[in-house]
Amino acid sequence: MKTSFCVKFAFDNLRKNHQIYFPFILSNAGIIGMMYIVASLSANESLLNSYHGNYILPFLEIGRYVIVLFSVIFLFYTNSFAIKRRRSELGLYNVLGLEKKHIIKIVFYENLICFLTSLFIGLVLGFIFEKIAFLTLTNLVGDDLPFGELFSFDAVTFTFIVFLFIYTLLFIYSALAIHKSKPLELLKEKSVGEKEPKAKWLAAVLGLVTLAAGYYIAQKVSNVPEAIMFFFPAVFLVIIGTYLLFVSGSIAFLKLLKNNKRFYYKTNHFITISNLFYRMKKNAVGLASICILSTMILVMVSSTTSLWFSINDTLKHLYPNEYSLSIHYGYDTSVFDKEMLATFDEYDIPLKDYYCVDYLDFVVRREGDTIIMDDDYYASDPLVIQALTLDNYNELLNTDYKLAEGEVLVYDNNVGFDSDKLVIADYSADVKEIKEGMIDQIPSTVNVVTAQLTVIADDEGFEKLFDVQKRAYGLNSSRIETYYGLDVDETEEGHYQEAFAKAIEDLSYEFKDLGIGYELRSKAYDDLIGFYSGFLFLGSFLGIVFMMAIVLIIYYKQISEGYEDADRFKIMHKVGLSDKEIHKTINSQILMVFFAPLLLAVIHLIAAYHLIDLVIVSLSSSGQAMFVYTFIISTIVFALIYCLIYFITSHTYYKIVTQRN
């Protein structure tokens, strides 16, 4: 058969099936564009050479490979849908005299046209949106970078090769499917009636059990190592549970409703239930996938935004001051203080305020109410003990708190301490008062804000605590640190990084024995913002890609439902259902079918809240409050987009249904 004829044939076929291929090409182009953008950004010189580039790059790389993997799955899904819908059409060609090799040749050209068109559109979209993506990314980290070489030939090649590979696989798959088929079967395919799906009770119960197990794990984790360890098992269980529930659970449930005659034989239940029965059988896998994708989007977007927004609080918690110095305890600080101020003056650092505090912290673990000190302190229920003297405390907070001998004041942060005696190994003290929280002026040494007790004791008690932990931990014991918190005016923060580094160099030279350590909050901010921005960018990027997949899955579902319903619609009309009634029942069915995944996704998310919250809290300190907001907002936004997609695609559905009448 002539090539030109095949090409013409292929074009005609695509045009005839535009309801399938138009969205197919468009979504492919979208994914190609996205892939090009990440590939190109990860090769962007300007970004690579910037300070934050190092932090962002790994995320872009991850994004690139996730999209590759996702494209393979997604294209196979959509392609098999298209082939299935077109079976009888291809069968007809066979009957009319086209040999199978001719049909395969035509399909080859169809694939080629789809490939080239979507590659072209995708790359054009990629070029256009690359700038926006670049600006978004640099804005997130707060950099003002030049675009540099935005167009990347390597990225084009990469995208081209990946999609060439995927399309080759698709073609082989379609060719095999056509090769194996028999024309008569192809022609008849659609008219074969279907047996009522059997309720698989065991699978349904199993689905409930795995889902419950996943939820249970998510509720039960109590600390971060556990949360990280059990995250994937829990996710795995929930995914299995979701698929089982949609595939078997839904049918079992409908069967129950159907067996209840008084319920079933009611006008509005009758048609809905029996139609849902069939709809669920065909759509269960797709709906479960929508549910999983939706959950992923919501988790990614809400957690990454919450991290990003909480960055300043995180920093304030980890670094209470713009500059911080720590020196060994026991030195006469008045000499050091003087010299330090003089050096800063020398380098023109406009110091506004400073304070100095001696503190000690070490990790213990709890078993019930007893505090235990052994090497195994990460095993369960770890707890940080921070200690400072009463004098230091009063100075810091500018108060005049008083303690009797052997008394302590305790700050409780997520510990739930309520005893009137504090016992740590052979140290014991009477608790005068318990206050909530911790002392903000002292840096938190661990960023896991699970549990910390701050103990304010007199000098003697302070020494005693030091001794106790020194004996217990030996070489691993903590030293007392003298911490200097230094601040400049808020507007000047981040401006004196180099001067400060030089000043410290001078001081270190002068006070060799003090072991001066220092940290800059603005420097930490630069590191952290790079990391969090990369994270947020990846989260939203994949969110968009998954969203495109959801759109297409929903759209294809609506089309296939439309073609099937059109005939039923006609029959019901003849038998005595008014148009209005038909519209109403079909509408409510589709609503139920499409909003079930959304509902379950939100339930998943609520169940996962505790676990995700733990992980987020481990990465930031004030994430908790933030996460509630980002969680709620992203759920609402997602639900709105979802509804929008639903209404747009259901328009196509009604067009198909009414066309036939």
Partner: protein, 252 residues
């Protein structure tokens, strides 16, 4: 007692883009008495389907009247029409029109569920009609699991279950083999003997020979009618054949 009265029914189709008009019905007049089994015969394009559609309330006539139990069906409001059709008319189609998502039992019960009958009433009626049509053993099966003849009997059961005033059958034997056709016609005969009024549109001389009266339509008009009276089916068959021959010759 008159059940159906058709008075000077006319239907003219105008195409949207041209001045041409086609008249499908050219003034049809006939009446059907309670308990009659009437067949309407005619060639393709003679206006049979248009007539049936108007009688069913699916289509509207350009002029003329259709009275069902002295109600003018063209005067029934759009909203009430569906309900009216459901309660007063029973339909049997060439292609059965059973829903593949329902079991046979549920297919038959559909009209009762729509008119919100009690479950006891449904069971009672179903039992009676299923026994009458000999389909009790098919009830739990699905339409695609049974033969064409059986499917059509299920469809008849669905038409009967609402106790319609009249059954409108559109080529009911059109998709059946001769054995199934015979069975179905015997079913029609049976329900007609139980005083069920039937109006059947058909191509088949055999099918028409079961009717008590046959109307012939040609060019949108009633051309002729013959009564069966006490004739046997065979005699009726011969009479119809003769009439058809005469009709065709007359056209030449």
């Amino acid at each position: 007692m008159k059940i159906l009265e058709v008075n000077d029914l006319k239907k003219v189709y105008t195409s949207r883009f041209s001045q041409n008009t086609t008249s499908a019905l050219n003034g049809i007049n006939f009446t059907i008495e309670e308990g009659e089994f009437v067949a309407i015969m005619g060639e393709s394009g003679s206006g049979k389907t248009t007539l049936l559609n108007i009688l069913s309330g699916i289509d509207t006539a350009t002029s003329g009247k259709v009275l069902l139990d002295s109600h003018d069906i063209s005067k029934i409001k759009e909203k009430e029409l569906t309900e009216f059709r459901r309660d007063h008319l029973g339909f049997v189609f060439q292609e059965f029109n059973l829903l593949d998502t329902f079991s046979n039992r549920d297919n038959i019960l559909l009209p009762l569920v729509l008119s919100q009958k009690s479950i006891e009433e449904m069971e009672k009626r179903l039992k009676k009609v299923a026994a009458e049509l000999g389909i009790t053993s098919l009830l739990h099966k699905y339409p695609f699991e049974i033969s064409g003849g059986q499917r059509q009997r299920v469809a008849v059961a669905r038409a009967l279950i609402n106790h319609p005033r009249i059954i409108l059958a559109d080529e009911p034997t059109g998709a059946l083999d001769s054995k199934s056709s015979d069975e179905l016609l015997n079913v029609f005969d049976l329900i007609n003997k139980n005083n069920q009024t039937i109006l059947m549109v058909t191509h088949s001389t055999k099918a028409a020979s079961y009717a008590s009266r046959v109307l012939f339509i040609k060019d949108g008009k009633i051309f002729h009618q013959i009564y069966k009276a006490d004739d046997s089916n065979e005699k009726m068959f011969a009479k119809i054949s003769d009439t058809l021959t005469m009709l065709t010759k007359g056209a030449d």
